[in-house]
C-alpha cells in the first residue's frame, strides 16, 4: 500500500460519519488531552507550522524557519471547546497552539484575523 492510500485509510478511522473526530486528540509527547471526541471537524487547509523538534546547528540569527506545510486539521470555532491547549504569543497575525502541559508545539494554528477558527494539525497529535 503506498503512502497516500495508507494515510487515507488511517484517516478514515479518525473521522466519524458526521465529519468529527471519533477519538480523543492527545499530545504526542505527554498525552495531555487536547480535544474530546466529537468536538472538532476535519478541515483541509494548507498551513505552515514550524518544526516541533529542536534543530541543532540552527543559530538564533538564522532567518529561515524549518517546518511543514500541513493540510489535514481538526477545526473548532471556539477556543473553549479545547480541553487543554496553550497559545503562543503573536507571531505576526498568527498564534500557534501548543500542548498546555508540556508546551511542545506547534500543534496548531490560529489567525487573529479570524476569531472563530482554530486548527489542530492531525500530524502533530495522537489519537486514542
Amino acid at each position: 500500500m503506498d503512502q497516500e492510500s495508507k494515510e487515507s485509510t488511517d484517516r478514515s478511522s479518525l473521522v466519524s460519519d458526521d465529519g468529527k473526530n471519533s477519538k480523543s486528540v492527545l499530545c504526542q509527547r505527554c498525552g495531555s488531552k487536547v480535544l474530546c471526541p466529537g468536538t472538532a471537524v476535519l478541515a483541509e487547509k494548507e498551513l505552515f507550522l514550524p518544526s516541533m523538534r529542536k534543530k541543532s546547528g540552527l543559530s538564533s540569527t538564522e532567518a529561515s524557519v524549518d517546518g511543514d506545510t500541513l493540510s489535514a486539521h481538526w477545526f473548532v470555532d471556539d477556543m473553549y471547546t479545547f480541553e487543554n491547549v496553550g497559545f503562543t504569543k503573536d507571531v505576526g497575525r498568527i498564534k500557534y497552539l501548543i500542548c498546555a502541559d508540556c508546551e511542545i508545539g506547534p500543534i496548531g494554528w490560529h489567525c487573529l484575523d479570524d476569531k472563530k477558527s482554530f486548527y489542530i494539525a492531525l500530524d502533530r497529535v495522537n489519537h486514542a
Partner: protein, 249 residues
C-alpha cells in the same frame, strides 16, 4: 479599616495542609470510567501577573527546549492556556492568562507607586481592570527570597485598593523544590495568612508542576462554594488574579 478583613469567612484551618494532599480531582479524573464528554459547566478566567525572569516561569511556563526550533524560540512565548479541571462534580474550563510585565530596575512591582516609574501606561490600566473583576486572588512569594515575603503587605494594599471585598484570597509560598535554600518558614507563611480573614495558605513547587494545579483547584473550589450550583449553564467569566512577585532579579 477594610471591612473585608472583619467578615468571617470559612475556617482557615484547611489552608495549611493543602499542598501536602494529593489532588483528588485530578486523580479521580484519571481513574474515572470512560464517560461521554460533556461541555464545560463553567468558564473561569485566571490571570497571572508577574515579573519576568525570576519566578514567572516557575508557576505556569515550563518552556522546554523542544517547544520550538531554535530559530523561533527567542521570538515565541506562551500567551495563555485553556485547561480543564473537574471539581464538585462540575467540569470547569479555565483560561489561564500569562501577562508578562515590564522589567525594571530593582524590585519589579506590577502595581503600586514604584511601578509607575517603570511600567508603561497600559500596564497600569490593565492592572486595575484585572483587580476589579477578580473573584479570586493568588498571592505568591518565593520561599527562598526574603524580600518577596516582606513585600506581601504592599500587595495586600493593592488588593485592598482595587479588588472586590468578596475576592477569595490564597497565599502561596513558591519554590518548594528549593528546600535547601529556604528562608521563609512554612509557619511564617501560615501566620501571615491567618491574620487575614479567609486567606488560605499553601506552599508549591513549580518544578514538578503538580502543586500548580493544586493552587488553581483550591481557588476554583473556593469560588464554586459560593456559587449556586443548581443554576444550569452559567457562563460567567470571573477573573482570578495570580499576583506573582519575586523581588529583584
Amino acid at each position: 479599616m477594610d471591612p473585608r478583613y472583619d467578615i468571617p469567612r470559612r475556617a482557615a484551618g484547611g489552608g495549611g495542609g493543602g499542598s501536602a494532599n494529593s489532588s483528588p480531582a485530578l486523580g479521580a479524573q484519571s481513574r474515572r470510567r470512560k464517560m461521554p464528554p460533556r461541555p464545560a459547566d463553567f468558564k473561569l478566567q485566571i490571570i497571572i501577573i508577574g515579573s519576568r525572569g525570576v519566578g514567572k516561569t516557575s508557576l505556569m511556563e515550563r518552556f522546554t527546549d523542544d517547544t520550538f526550533c531554535e530559530a523561533c524560540k527567542s521570538t515565541v512565548g506562551v500567551d495563555f492556556k485553556i485547561k480543564t479541571v473537574e471539581l464538585r462534580g462540575k467540569k470547569i474550563r479555565l483560561q489561564i492568562c500569562l501577562t508578562v510585565t515590564h522589567r525594571g530596575k530593582g524590585r519589579d512591582y506590577l502595581a503600586g507607586s514604584t511601578v509607575t516609574l517603570h511600567c508603561q501606561e497600559r500596564f497600569n490600566s490593565i492592572t486595575s481592570a484585572y483587580y476589579r473583576g477578580a473573584k479570586g486572588i493568588v498571592l505568591v512569594y518565593d520561599i527562598t527570597k526574603q524580600e518577596t515575603f516582606e513585600d506581601l503587605p504592599k500587595w495586600m494594599k493593592m488588593i485592598d485598593k482595587y479588588a472586590s471585598e468578596e475576592a477569595e484570597l490564597l497565599l502561596v509560598g513558591n519554590k518548594l523544590d528549593c528546600e535547601t535554600d529556604r528562608i521563609i518558614s512554612r509557619q511564617q507563611g501560615e501566620r501571615f495568612a491567618s491574620r487575614i480573614s479567609g486567606m488560605r495558605f499553601c506552599e508549591a513547587s513549580a518544578k514538578d508542576n503538580f502543586n500548580v494545579d493544586e493552587i488553581f483547584l483550591k481557588l476554583v473550589d473556593d469560588i464554586l462554594s459560593k456559587v449556586r450550583l443548581n443554576v444550569p449553564e452559567i457562563h460567567f467569566t470571573q477573573c482570578i488574579h495570580c499576583l506573582v512577585h519575586f523581588g529583584s532579579l
